[in-house]
């Protein structure tokens, strides 16, 4: 199989996955609800809006017509109007997705920036008490539920020491001209430190442990023996020879983690009142704002799938050994 056919196949597969998820979503919402119309009617919409919504969703149509309409609208990026915000769903979802991604990406970058060198260092000190403590702490943060560490962090640094704000992305009230304007401020940074740190601590364990384990494997390879025989300093062997060769599994893990980042960590957003997509889904389903919930989930899934796809494509260029099955 050539690279081109592999890529085409991979893209088709992603589109297929997305279609299946959209279908599951469509029928899940219609199955879980007693009657979608009753939810729409009880919402405080006026007659015109109600008619518009009805027309938009084609609620009198048979189920298959609704399904086709839902799919065609979704493909065009048209998700209707949110009940609670009275605004186009896509606008809200994109903004929230941005907020989630800022938080998650910052945390993941931080986790890998610290975790990878830390893992390499632990492998160098293997068997020592530093190693044991490092593994223990890494696994501990991996085992502690994030909402709990978040609560404890708020208690200590927010409520106790009054060092950081305990909720939100910015000090209210504020108005920003755009997304970049919103996040490139000290105020934003000040709000982001605690949640980013909590997510980063959670993610820290896996790059650290993977790096440590692959480093240990690399140490057994011949070229390390060779470097030792040449009399290179241990530090050079560690960082120039071994670490470079141990990075691939870490990169794989990074790709998977970034792929799932759009899914976000709902609990962290809830605990820190971070206006992200996960929290929006929770609110939307609770307030029966189904257009918003449906679209949020679909876009989130689309993001996860396309990131996975991107990672796979990148991989074909990064690692020539990948076979196109």
């Amino acid at each position: 199989m050539t690279r081109r056919t592999y890529l085409i196949k991979r893209v088709l597969q992603a589109v297929f996955s997305l279609w299946i998820i959209a279908t599951i979503l469509f029928f899940l919402f219609r199955m879980g609800l007693p009657d979608p119309t009753s939810v729409l009617i009880t919402e405080g919409l006026n007659a015109e809006q109600r008619a518009a919504v009805r027309a938009q969703f084609g609620l009198e149509d048979p189920l298959w017509r609704q399904y086709v309409l839902f799919l065609t609208n979704a493909v065009q990026g048209e998700f209707g109007t949110s009940f609670s915000y009275r605004a186009p769903v896509s606008e809200i979802v994109w903004e929230r997705l941005g907020n989630t991604m800022v938080l998650m990406l910052a945390a993941i970058v931080l986790a890998y920036a610290i975790g990878v060198p830390l893992g390499a260092w632990l492998s160098w000190r293997r068997g020592s008490s530093t190693d044991t403590v490092g593994i223990f702490v890494g696994l501990m943060f991996r085992s502690a539920p994030m909402f709990w560490t978040g609560m404890i962090a708020i208690l200590i640094f927010g409520v106790g020491l009054l060092m950081f704000p305990t909720s939100g992305m910015r000090t209210l009230p504020y108005d920003a001209d755009g997304f970049l304007d919103k996040i490139f401020t000290l105020d934003f940074l000040w709000h982001a430190i605690l949640p980013v740190l909590i997510v980063a601590l959670y993610y820290l364990g896996s790059p650290m442990l993977i790096m440590r384990n692959t480093m240990l494997e690399v140490y057994g390879e011949d070229f390390i023996e060779m470097a030792r025989a040449k009399g290179l300093p241990e530090r050079d062997i560690l960082y120039k020879h071994a670490a470079r060769n141990a990075l691939l599994p870490v990169v794989t893990q990074l790709a998977v983690t970034i792929g799932l980042a759009a899914g976000g960590q709902v609990v962290v957003e809830v605990v820190f009142s971070w206006p992200g997509l996960g929290r929006e889904i929770l609110n939307a389903v609770r307030t029966s704002d189904f257009p918003l919930a449906q679209a949020s989930f679909l876009i989130m899934a689309a993001f996860v799938i396309s990131l996975n796809l991107l990672v796979d494509i990148l991989y074909t260029t990064l690692d020539p050994r990948v076979s196109f099955r």
Partner: protein
């Protein structure tokens, strides 16, 4: 020794676990937590859902800026106190009597009754009279206590009229005159005669007695004429207590923050606005204008000369009596009160929550849900994942394509939000939580097992079995499966941890099964109540328990990773 292949395959991982020190620690910790879940009802000292009430002989002392909680006088509520010439006496429930001389310690005195003692008074000779439920009347002096026979009645208050006669009032409009020397009782006709409860009596400056009761009832008894007459003090609320200072200044307190005051012996009664509307049980006023009132939920009000102010107190216990000796002010209680948000104590090891429920018992019971979801979820995940992996890897072709494309689709579904939607759409229940966890986690297991099976199916022993005419099912489950079993064990261990965290997450978001107690649910309650910012004992233990459980499972799974990665084994 020959074991069946399945068992032999299962022995390997076990041996690995025993060799790893961290895994052994993990197994011990997990064992403790499993034991905790199994014996939860025996281990927990309280019902985790029961709102705990406590009765206590509480003593609050007026400090410089706050009424401080002193060491309690036993586990029974204190109802009334009296003081005369350096001698103090407190009475309470179930025959509780405490005495002290001037500044000494309180000493418990034995009396021959188990009845609730409601009121006490001391006369000039230092003679005490105590009245209580079941028509209890006790006379006490330095030599001992003497029970006066009386008809059964709920006696509420007592006052010495002179050295030998005392006036007693009761809940069924009883007004009795006791001759302490003869020990006989004379009943006095009430001007109402409709069975109204009378709550308190006090001696006025002119030697008459003023009795107050429910619905604003006030009766004046004149010992000279021996008659009782109605008096108006301008309130229609239930009046609980009356105190009259020697000079005639008087204070009556009652339900819903009722405060009625009289400045001089022949002055008019005025109703003061109260800063709180909780029931007041006791009041005290001095001729110098100082006044204080105490009541339910630890409420204490002090008169600053112009208005009543709420005094800060250290506790929310119900207060029933005041004892003022010079500058030493005591407030006494307490009926059954709910121990809301109490920090860890001997009674509640992990403290209590906002409803006064025992948190230790909740944490112990929480282990049941965590382990149930953990193990059941993991079993289900491994069951689905292993079978999908086995079938896909063994049959290949179209079966494999369909199954593995399904796995690919599953990878596009973000876990947390999907679980949220599932639970919200289908009413939160334990089944849905377990299903949500398992529906999305089997994908990893299926991929791992399939890749293992792909290499195994080309091995000679599989080919040999096929040549020998073994059926597909037989090859899959009897020949290949034992070889992937170590991997299955590894995944099982990892997913137990994943499931426990997932359940805690859903419960924390308030999507756990209602009526059940789980660690995540305790944290949900803490966050919802808003009290978690102060009550550290509420949110610390469940998180530590989740972390410990998942950590021990991780340690066990780490020892099994050698199975999945034989290169690690070679180096050990």
């Amino acid at each position: 020794m020959t074991l069946p292949p399945i068992l032999r395959a299962a022995m390997g991982p076990l041996r690995l676990m025993v060799q790893d020190r961290l895994a052994v620690i993990g197994m011990c910790v997990l064992g403790v937590i499993i034991a905790m879940a199994l014996f939860a009802p025996l281990l927990s000292p309280h019902d985790p859902r029961h709102i705990n009430e406590i009765e206590d002989g509480s003593v609050l002392v007026r400090g410089s800026d706050v009424w401080e909680l002193r060491e309690s006088l036993g586990p029974l509520a204190l109802n009334d106190a009296a003081h005369h010439a350096g001698q103090s006496i407190i009475v309470g429930r179930s025959g509780t009597v405490w005495t002290r001389a001037t500044e000494g310690d309180w000493a418990r005195v034995d009396v021959e009754t188990e009845a609730d003692l409601n009121a006490v008074d001391l006369n000039a000779d230092g003679r005490a009279i105590v009245v209580g439920g079941l028509g209890t009347i006790l006379l006490g002096n330095d030599t001992g206590w003497q029970v006066i026979p009386a008809p059964e009645a709920d006696l509420r208050s007592v006052i010495w009229l002179d050295a030998v006669t005392a006036l007693i009032v009761g809940a069924n409009e009883e007004i009795w005159l006791l001759d302490a020397t003869a020990g006989n009782i004379a009943e006095i006709d009430s001007p109402v005669g409709r069975g109204f409860p009378l709550n308190a009596v006090a001696l006025d400056a002119d030697g008459t007695a003023l009795i107050v009761g429910e619905r604003g009832l006030a009766i004046r008894y004149d010992p000279d004429t021996g008659t009782a007459a109605l008096e108006r003090i301008g309130s229609s609320r239930d009046l609980n207590h009356i105190h009259i200072a020697p000079g005639g200044t008087a204070l009556v307190v009652g339900e819903r923050g009722t405060l009625v005051r009289r400045d001089t012996a022949d002055g008019a009664w005025t109703t003061d606005p109260a800063p709180d509307t909780r029931a007041l049980r006791a009041g005290w006023i001095g001729d110098d204008g100082r006044a204080v009132a105490a009541g339910r939920n630890g409420i204490i009000m002090e008169w600053d000369g112009a208005a009543w102010q709420i005094a800060p107190t250290e506790s929310e216990r119900h207060l029933r009596a005041l004892l003022v000796v010079g500058d030493d002010w005591l407030a006494l209680g307490s009926d059954r009160f709910v121990t809301r948000l109490s920090p860890p104590s001997r009674e509640h090891w992990f403290g209590t929550d906002h409803l006064g429920r025992d948190l230790f018992s909740q944490n112990v019971h929480g282990s049941q849900i965590a382990l149930l979801v953990g193990f059941l979820g993991a079993t289900l995940v491994v069951l689905i994942g292993t079978n999908v992996g086995l079938i896909a890897g063994y049959y290949r072709g179209r079966t494999e394509t369909i199954l593995m494309r399904t796995v690919d689709v599953m990878y596009g579904i973000p876990f947390e939000p999907f679980a949220l939607i599932l639970v919200l759409l289908f009413q939160p229940s334990l089944t849905i939580v377990i299903l949500a966890v398992s529906l999305l986690t089997w994908r990893t297991v299926a991929r791992l097992i399939r890749s293992q099976v792909l290499s195994l199916r080309e091995r000679p022993f599989v080919k040999a079995a096929r040549v020998a005419g073994a059926s597909d099912l037989r090859i899959m489950y009897l020949h290949i499966f034992p070889n992937v079993l170590p991997l299955v064990f590894l995944e099982l261990a990892i997913i137990v941890g994943v499931s426990i965290i997932a359940e805690a997450t859903l419960s924390f978001l308030g999507l756990g099964p209602p009526q059940s107690i789980s660690w995540g649910g305790i944290l949900h309650d803490a966050r919802l109540s808003g009290a978690w910012r102060t009550a550290w004992w509420w949110n610390l233990p469940p998180g530590i328990l989740i972390m410990t459980t998942v950590l021990s499972v991780f340690f066990i799974s780490r020892s099994l990773e050698v199975v999945a990665n034989p290169r690690l084994r070679a180096r050990q």
